[in-house]
């Protein structure tokens, strides 16, 4: 855009010009003015968009430090690639200074070019063009000339105006210099829509800035009946991720974890999973206790913190077990009991059975029980049996199918044979992601604004019609009619054609689309 046509330039350069050399502005002023000119030009904005897109493409094609597998990718690069990409900041391009700078300049460009163009758009609303010459009307993208008979100029204008109104246009009839004008329009506010879209974008940018500056996201692994008062946050230094812990102002206790499977006899892999549930109790000094369940895609909000179900530790455990307890005495009836993890069941004779631990792939290492793998190959429940007499013993319960496997299987302990009939599979721990993000709310506000303003911009248009009524002899009038629209030309064309046909008294029903 040339400086002469740019009102912004005139305003800005005038006070800066030296008083005695008005004709020759100081070079600094001109550089400033030119920079401002550049910053507020749409072309420059397009260039910025292209540059930003190019930087994003680099970030897509070169693996970023926070992506899983970066260490392996980095190890396979040649030393020159490492040096080049590293010094250009390509491994973390979205956090490089020049990426931030591009976003800042783009924001500035949006603001400045909006300031420059807004007054022009505002005149569509504030100062409507109510009259126009026949020549000007004839130069519009849609135009026609009609001959009308009868009445006076005013009544013809009123007819035109009424026809426009039936197309939902707002009309004004004016008289000037002996000529009668009709001006009709709808959706003038649509001229301002584009600015509102840019405001929404800036709000989103602002939210993103808040998140980047003040946001925290960490992880928290929770085992049942354990508590955590901190989360671990990961930072990336090329192939060396570093973890720091961030203390939380409250303590999170895990009361239960549960994994809902599609096929309950199948593995606890993600592909066989419907949902993970983590029940938590937040103990917050001064705010009391709060209980909640965090599920996949169903986060829980608490005082600016959000808890997400992020992942799980897939070592096979059981949430609850179903045992068949058979006393060794002759003729005694077996009894089925269900025990929750770390829970206890009491038998009819007062004997208490505690479900102490679970091994998915049971193996004895010396006298110590352990699991060989995370999979449910040889499941066993470790039980603590306390007789009413005070005598205690440790026992392992196996499924009936494991009867012939090893010395501990099927052996009676404390007078009972105990069989593991069924169990509910679950992982050893669930990992919650904890987020404190003061920017997300702002971003959401920007989203709502953007959705509304985009709909306002693209599904509406500012349509204008002008008509000039001129007398051509006794009772004869010529109506020059024309109009334009800023968007959706095709629909406007249809409307304009129908308007002209209606005014000409033609049968507008005659034109029927053929399928």
């Amino acid at each position: 855009m040339s400086a002469a046509t740019n009102p912004q330039t005139k305003i800005m350069s005038a006070p800066l010009a030296a008083p005695r050399s008005v004709a020759v502005p100081r070079p600094s002023a001109s550089v400033f003015a030119r920079a401002l000119d550049l910053l507020s030009s749409v072309r420059f904005g397009v260039v910025l968009l292209v540059l930003l897109a190019a930087a994003c493409m680099v970030g897509m094609l070169i693996m970023q430090v926070n992506v899983e597998g970066f260490a392996k990718y980095y190890a396979e690069l040649s030393p020159s690639q490492k040096l080049l990409y590293g010094s250009l900041g390509f491994f973390d391009i979205y956090h490089s200074w020049y990426f931030d700078a591009m976003l800042v300049v783009l924001s500035l460009n949006i603001v400045l070019s909006s300031i420059e163009r807004f007054p022009g758009a505002w005149t569509y609303v504030s100062r409507k063009k109510l009259d126009a010459s026949a020549h000007w009307i004839g130069g519009q993208e849609q135009h026609a000339a009609l001959s009308v008979e009868g009445g006076d100029a005013q009544s013809v204008a009123v007819r035109v105006s009424a026809a426009c109104e039936s197309l939902n246009l707002k009309t004004r009839v004016t008289e000037k210099g002996g000529k009668t004008f009709v001006f009709a329009e709808r959706g003038a506010w649509n001229r301002l829509g584009a600015y509102a879209v840019h405001v929404a974008l800036l709000v989103i940018f602002a939210g993103g800035f808040l998140t980047a500056q003040f946001g925290h996201t960490g992880q928290m692994a929770l085992e049942p009946d354990a508590s955590a008062g901190e989360m671990s946050e990961t930072f990336f230094q090329l192939d060396q991720p570093q973890t720091t812990t961030v203390a939380l102002p409250f303590e999170v206790e895990c009361t239960d974890i549960q994994q809902k499977l599609i096929d309950k006899s199948g593995p606890t892999s993600p592909t066989n999973t419907l949902d993970w549930l983590t029940s938590i109790r937040i103990k917050d000094p001064g705010h009391g206790e709060t209980e909640a369940v965090v599920r996949m895609n169903k986060p829980f909000d608490y005082r600016g913190y959000r808890f997400f179900q992020a992942s799980f530790v897939p070592e096979g455990k059981a949430r609850q077990i179903l045992l068949r307890v058979t006393p060794e005495d002759e003729g005694a009836q077996p009894q089925d009991v269900t025990i929750r993890r770390n829970g206890t069941a009491t038998l009819a004779d007062g004997t208490r059975i505690k479900f102490a631990d679970f091994f998915a792939d049971f193996v004895l290492e010396g006298t110590r029980a352990d699991t060989q793998s995370p999979d449910y190959n040889n499941p066993a429940a470790e039980l603590m049996i306390s007789k009413a007499s005070g005598e205690t013993a440790k026992a392992y319960a196996f499924p009936a199918s494991a009867a012939a496997r090893g010395p501990v299987v099927g052996r009676a302990v404390a007078g009972y044979k105990i069989q593991l009939v069924d169990f509910e599979k679950v992982g050893a721990a669930h990992v919650l992601s904890v987020q404190k993000d003061p920017g997300a709310g702002v971003v959401y506000v920007g989203f709502v604004l953007l959705a509304l303003t985009l709909a306002g911009v693209f599904f509406f248009a500012h349509q204008r019609v002008w008509a000039l009524v001129e007398e051509r002899g006794e009772g004869k009038f010529e109506v020059t009619i024309g109009g334009n629209t800023n968007r959706n030309r095709l629909a406007f064309e249809d409307r304009f054609r129908r308007l002209v046909k209606a005014l000409a008294g033609e049968d507008e029903e005659a034109e029927v689309q053929q399928i």
């Binding site: 030009s41 749409v42 904005g45 397009v46 968009l49 292209v50 994003c56 493409m57 970030g59 897509m60 693996m63 926070n66 992506v67 260490a71 979205y94 009544s155 204008a157 009123v158 007819r159 105006s161 009424a162 026809a163 039936s166 009839v173 004016t174 000037k176 009668t180 004008f181 993103g208 599609i262 096929d263 309950k264 993600p270 592909t271 419907l274 996949m296 895609n297 169903k298 986060p299 959000r306 997400f308 992020a310 992601s433 987020q435 993000d437 997300a440 971003v443 989203f447 953007l450 959705a451 985009l454 709909a455 911009v457 693209f458 968007r487 030309r489 095709l490 209606a502 689309q513 399928i515």
Partner: protein
């Protein structure tokens, strides 16, 4: 000064009524969508027996799209109301089968899990868990539907019906790609089980569909604007050359493997199962046919370049001949590829052992070895492991069209691009005259581009909200996110180019074309080439 006049209310004035007959032109859309819904309900009530599968319906859709495309194209050269009608109604049939296939898939996915869950007395999850937006096959089906639907909606204006001549072949390529990807129904990754999925992916497929139409409009705009078909040929040839030189891991033109094309070995038994391995099986003839196509394209580019620079008519005539020959060679290469994949039996004999070291380390990683452990193994150990795997009895390797879906689709896209340029070079002036005025094409381009821009904004926003619900951050520069963002920026540039003086017209059309290519890159490239959270689709 002007003064306002109050107009008396008594004067009779023409009233313009709401016209119901305008709605009649939307009949194809209503019939296609309504019919598909009715068919889906019927399938839901009556069960899967005696009912066409979703795969069969998809093939019907493909057949309809292709037929409709041919009628649309013919109509451009020899305008005929009959052909136009046949084209429109076959396209309607295509959209109907396309959507019906998607719906039937929804029901089939539900019934599949219903059997497992209810057997164990479990509670059935909500119905939207089974909406077919779970993988790239589903998305492709929806993408093609989006394109078909947009074409039908635009066909509401009679003089825009020509757009089907371009958009329907593109929709067909997407369905062919889907066919190659394979439509087996798999369990849904739990993170995808959210009500945001239908919203987010639905937005994606519809806006991608509109973007496809915008792309087709931009190409037509350039043609109408007088861009020489020779210049188009240069671009389409460069695209086809890029495809030919990158497929099969750059093997076609690489000195060490010159003239060879390898398809990835497929492993794993059963229909609808198995996986593609990073191990290439050389297909006889295909490599040389691709080399021939490539060289002919290079010759064509050089000759057309000479024509464009020096107006040499001889160069132009020879360029056209080479382009046509290359079209034949590309077609032959694709045919040979498909034929070999279907018939080659001695797969192991066609594997170049030079790949074994690299494949060996892949195998070790698959077996759970850490990167350092793999690095500690010697070259010969890795090669031995690979050789043993390849020759292991019971785990036979074979070839499948699902081995390299993107490569195959890219080759078909290159062929189609060449085909269209050849078609455009035939009686170009007549074709230009048959197209609507430039301003109207521009209006359509702006409209579809604007809708795509708004759609992509919605896509990014719903994606961000969903990500914030399930991953704990609304934006993480994940490859798919960034890809969609880049396409959004490019459509933004497209819209702004139109309001910056001196750049209107062609520049905007170029942006619309590049933006769509970026969408395709996001849609396919990210899933197959780049790591990230969206790798499932």
């Amino acid at each position: 000064m002007s003064q306002a006049i109050k107009h008396p209310a008594t004067i009779a004035a023409p009233r313009i009524k709401f016209r119901a007959d305008g709605l009649l032109s939307f009949l194809p859309v209503v019939l296609a969508v309504g019919g598909a819904v009715a068919l889906a309900l019927l399938r839901w009530r009556t069960g899967g027996e005696h009912f066409p599968s979703d795969g069969a319906l998809m093939m019907l859709a493909l057949a309809c799209y292709l037929t409709a495309a041919i009628f649309h194209l013919t109509n451009l050269y020899a305008p005929s109301t009959l052909f136009q009608r046949i084209g429109l109604w076959t396209a309607t049939g295509g959209v109907f089968f396309n959507l019906a296939s998607w719906f039937v898939r929804w029901v089939a996915t539900y019934e599949r899990e219903l059997a497992v869950i209810t057997r164990q007395g479990g509670e059935m999850p909500w119905f939207f868990r089974y909406i077919p937006f779970a993988n790239l096959y589903d998305l492709s089906l929806a993408f093609a539907f989006g394109a078909g639907l947009a074409t039908l909606l635009i066909a509401h204006r009679q003089n825009f019906r020509f757009i089907g001549a371009l958009s329907l072949p593109l929709a067909s390529i997407i369905l062919v790609l889907a066919r190659f990807i394979g439509g087996e129904i798999t369990n849904l990754p739990p993170v995808l089980d959210s009500y945001w999925r239908p919203i987010h992916v639905g937005t994606a497929s519809l806006s991608y569909g509109v973007a496809l139409v915008c792309f087709a409009t931009a190409v037509v705009y350039l043609l109408k604007d007088g861009v020489k078909t020779e210049a188009m040929a240069v671009w389409s040839s460069l695209f086809a050359l890029a495809v030919i030189s990158t497929v099969s891991r750059f093997s076609v033109f690489a000195p060490a493997t010159f003239g060879t094309y390898g398809a990835s070995a497929f492993f794993g038994a059963g229909e609808g199962r198995g996986m593609s391995l990073p191990l290439r099986v050389e297909l006889p003839y295909v490599g040389w046919l691709l080399v021939a196509s490539g060289l002919l394209l290079v010759g064509g580019v050089a000759l057309f370049g000479r024509y464009l620079a020096r107006e040499s008519e001889t160069a132009r005539a020879w360029g056209r001949r080479l382009l046509k020959l290359s079209l034949v060679a590309q077609g032959a290469a694709i045919a040979a590829l498909v034929w070999q994949v279907k018939t080659l039996t001695s797969v192991v004999e066609h594997i170049d052992p030079r790949q074994y070291a690299k494949f060996g380390s892949y195998l070790m990683e698959q077996q759970g070895l850490a990167a350092q452990q793999v690095a500690a193994l010697s070259q010969s150990q890795l090669e031995r492991a690979a050789a043993e795997f390849v020759r292991a009895p019971g785990g036979e390797l074979f070839l499948s069209l699902r081995s390299n879906p993107v490569e195959l689709s890219a080759l078909i896209a290159g062929f189609t691009a060449t085909l269209f340029v050849v078609i455009f070079s035939f009686r170009t002036e007549r074709l230009r005259a048959a197209l609507p005025p430039k301003e109207k094409i521009d209006s359509l381009m702006y409209k579809t581009g604007g809708v795509t821009f708004a759609g992509l904004a919605l896509l990014l926003m719903t994606g961000a909200i969903w990500a914030n619900e399930s991953w704990g951050r609304y934006w993480g520069w994940d490859s798919k996110e960034t890809g969609a963002f880049v396409a959004f920026l490019t459509y933004g540039a497209f819209l702004h180019v139109r309001i910056s003086r001196g750049w209107t017209g062609r520049a905007a059309a170029y942006f619309a074309i590049v933006a769509f290519l970026l969408i395709v890159f996001t849609y396919l490239g990210v899933s197959y080439l780049l790591p990230g959270l969206h790798s499932y689709a």
